[in-house]
């Protein structure tokens, strides 16, 4: 991408970036401009968008390995999310607090993530070509299985279980008092009453993105990419496609676990039972909006996509609600988020930066 003025370069930039993303970006900007006009606080909005960006970014990042290795969009991200839920609930059960609690959650989630990822990866290797729909239903049924588990596993921390019987986890568990906003508030910059810059959160996201970038440049990382973009060349070079795919699935599941823990510390609640399901599609939408294709994705896709998707999802309801003076946020959210996913699905799979 060049920033010099000559028209040719602007044209190439637009082509590279893609008209659709430019349109969404302009729409988002116009919402920001419109916001103060209709009575929505701009500083609160920007703070909101940054928060949501940080919350979701790692979940979107989790999709990159599998796309690169040719295993498609990870609709089975729910498995990684469940691993993360196990980690965070265990962290609360063990009364781990502050940074120990947060990193402890990640640590506790890791063995589960690796385990789930391993079996899930093996399954996907057997069904090359139909991964997406199968992943969806494997994810759904696993979440249902976990619903049963959440009811019968022997947790007993009183903040987590139902009051009456003392058995079975609640649907929503607060992390307040444990590690609420531990990342967000780390080195946070607060300006005025409504604006908080979640420094820690964004630093952590940057760290993960950096690690992913480094990984993709390593020998394993490049082998993974080769399997996804040029399988014949990879096979000729002696790279085992199955092994690379398996590694990508495990990494993806692990990042899914990390992602949901990051989300929880920012959002403030651990959401169990059927909550993992609706978290997957927004992540997929974000990366597609960011310009990724079914078999090529990079960090820029993640950042741009998450920002655009979450930005739109935050701004549209608040601005429209102010204009129309009714609370239509749910309906708007449904239309906007699914509309964006649809839009991304119907684009030609061209590789764009």
């Amino acid at each position: 991408m060049q920033w010099r003025l000559p028209v040719n370069n602007i044209k190439t930039f637009i082509q590279d970036f893609g008209w659709p993303r430019i349109i969404i970006f302009l729409f988002l900007v116009s919402l920001f401009i419109l916001a103060p006009v209709v009575g929505v606080r701009l500083d609160a909005s920007i703070s909101d968008v940054m928060n949501r960006f940080g919350q979701y970014a790692i979940l979107v990042l989790a999709l990159v390995p599998m796309i690169q290795s040719g295993a498609g969009l990870n609709f089975g991200l729910a498995l990684g999310i469940v691993a993360g839920l196990l980690g965070s609930t265990l962290s609360l059960q063990l009364e781990l607090r502050s940074f120990l609690g947060f990193f402890g959650a990640i640590g506790l989630a890791t063995p589960f993530a690796v385990l789930f990822g391993y079996f899930y990866g093996k399954l996907l290797n057997k069904v090359k070509g139909e991964e997406m729909t199968i992943a969806m239903y494997v994810g759904f049924s696993f979440v249902m299985l976990m619903c049963i588990m959440w009811l019968i596993l022997p947790y007993n921390n009183p903040t987590m279980v139902w009051g009456y019987a003392g058995k079975g986890l609640r649907t929503t568990i607060t992390v307040e008092g444990y590690w609420l906003k531990i990342l967000n508030n780390f080195l946070a910059i607060k300006i005025g009453e409504f604006f908080v810059f979640p420094t820690g959160l964004l630093l952590f996201v940057a760290l993960c993105a950096f690690l992913m970038w480094v990984f993709l440049k390593t020998k394993t990382g490049t082998a993974m990419t080769a399997v996804g973009s040029n399988p014949d060349f990879a096979r000729a070079s002696g790279i085992s496609a199955d092994r690379m795919r398996l590694i990508s699935v495990v990494i993806s599941t692990f990042l899914g676990a990390v992602g949901i823990i990051v989300y929880q510390q920012s959002f403030g609640f651990i959401q169990l039972y059927t909550a993992p399901n609706p978290m997957v599609f927004p992540a997929v939408a974000a990366i597609l909006i960011g310009g990724a294709s079914i078999n090529k994705a990079n960090i820029i896709n993640v950042i741009v996509g998450t920002f655009l998707f979450q930005g739109l999802l935050t701004m549209t309801p608040s601005v429209i609600n102010s204009i129309l003076q009714t609370d239509m946020s749910e309906v708007i959210r449904m239309i906007v988020s699914n509309g964006m996913i649809l839009y991304a699905l119907t684009r030609k799979t061209k590789v764009s930066k």
Partner: protein, 369 residues
């Protein structure tokens, strides 16, 4: 082929059916339900759901996979029913009225679906799935905000007290069971809604006849190989859209039949599970993403719903909690779809690999894909 391979082949062919039969039979005793009750329930559900499942056949035929966007047709049918209740049209006339009102909506939505799917070739199933949620958002907007305000409703009783938007439960008492009771045959302890089954039978005849028409043959060609069909002069894009339009219209009718049997309409979520149940039934009946026929429909509906009738109560008694029983039922439901898809994908990969290894060994194969 050794006997062991034969057994494994048989098991993998019919794994899903076997699992369902075993689970259902095992759950009958703990559920505490009597056999006549179960049989009657299955008869009722056959009448109620079969039409919706048949709506899935043509898109599979045309190579577009499982039409999760059939939910759009269901929404069209629901809007039709809302108007039928609003205008006070009762009985079977109400149902036909609802169908007529929903028809143009279903055709329009089907056309949208087909066009969108044409832009996402190879990803039709996921696209249809998301499209259903997207249009659901528009449906909610339409029914919750526009109806009663921009779109005048005659009957104030079905409007929310704030003045616009439809109430979230609509009593369909005016059309309740009007198709079923047109001629209810009673044999022993069982009641069979004859007219409903006649309608379903006519639909099956339609499907069989349609397959023989030129359009039907075109769809089959498109389903087998889009490039070859295109080269043969078939308008691939249009054929695919027509397949989806028919599917959506059938879903519209199917949902009306479904709701008249249920007797009330959960305005905002009645259609949520429509796609899932229809797809699950079809897959359980032995269909795959590329092949489905009419026996799959009925076998699937019987198996799926028989299990769904007995397992919640069985789960409740076995696990001691209704919630666990309910989760277990859903787990099995989704798991079975996943299993069917996995088995199907595994089978087709095995077939492709077998072919490749045979070619490599230099043996003379027929070459047909």
């Amino acid at each position: 082929m050794s006997a062991k391979t034969n057994v494994t082949k048989f098991l993998s062919e019919y794994a899903v059916v076997i699992i369902f039969v075993v689970l259902t039979l095992a759950s009958i005793a703990p559920s505490g339900l009597s056999i006549p009750y179960i049989i009657q329930e299955v008869i009722t559900r056959l009448g109620r759901n079969s039409f919706l499942v048949i709506a899935l056949l043509l898109p599979i035929y045309a190579g577009m996979g499982l039409n999760f966007a059939m939910t759009l047709g269901a929404m069209a049918g629901q809007i039709g029913l809302i108007f039928a209740v609003d205008w006070g049209v009762a009985g079977w006339q109400g149902l036909v009225f609802a169908l007529l009102v929903g028809l143009p909506i279903a055709v329009l939505l089907g056309w949208v679906t087909g066009s969108v799917m044409n832009k996402a070739k190879g990803r039709e199933m996921v696209t249809g799935y998301i499209l259903a949620f997207f249009i659901n958002g528009i449906y909610q907007f339409f029914v919750l905000y526009l109806m009663g305000s921009l779109i005048p409703m005659r009957n104030p009783a079905i409007v929310l007290s704030r003045g616009y938007g439809v109430r979230n439960t609509l009593n369909l008492e005016s059309v309740r069971q009007s198709l079923d009771t047109l001629f209810m045959l009673r044999i022993g302890p069982f009641a069979i809604p004859v007219v409903t089954f006649i309608v379903i039978f006519l639909l099956c005849l339609f499907i069989v006849w349609f397959r023989k028409t030129k359009l039907g043959q075109d769809m089959r060609a498109v389903g087998q190989d889009m490039a070859v069909a295109g080269a043969a002069g078939i308008d691939v894009e249009r054929t695919r859209i027509v397949a989806i339009i028919i599917s959506t219209v059938l879903a519209c009718g199917g949902q009306i039949i479904f709701l008249q049997n249920m007797g009330n309409l959960a305005t905002y979520n009645a259609h949520d599970q429509t796609g899932f149940f229809a797809v699950a039934a079809l897959l359980v009946g032995g269909a795959s993403v590329t092949h489905a026929n009419i026996p799959n429909v009925f076998i699937g509906v019987i198996l799926l719903h028989a299990m769904f009738i007995v397992s919640p109560l069985a789960g409740q008694k076995l696990f001691g909690s209704a919630m666990i029983g309910e989760y277990f039922r859903q787990f099995i439901g989704y798991g079975v779809i996943a299993l069917s898809l996995v088995l199907y994908a595994w089978k087709s990969r095995r077939a492709a690999e077998d072919q490749r290894s045979q070619l490599r060994q230099g043996s003379a194969t027929g070459g047909a894909k």
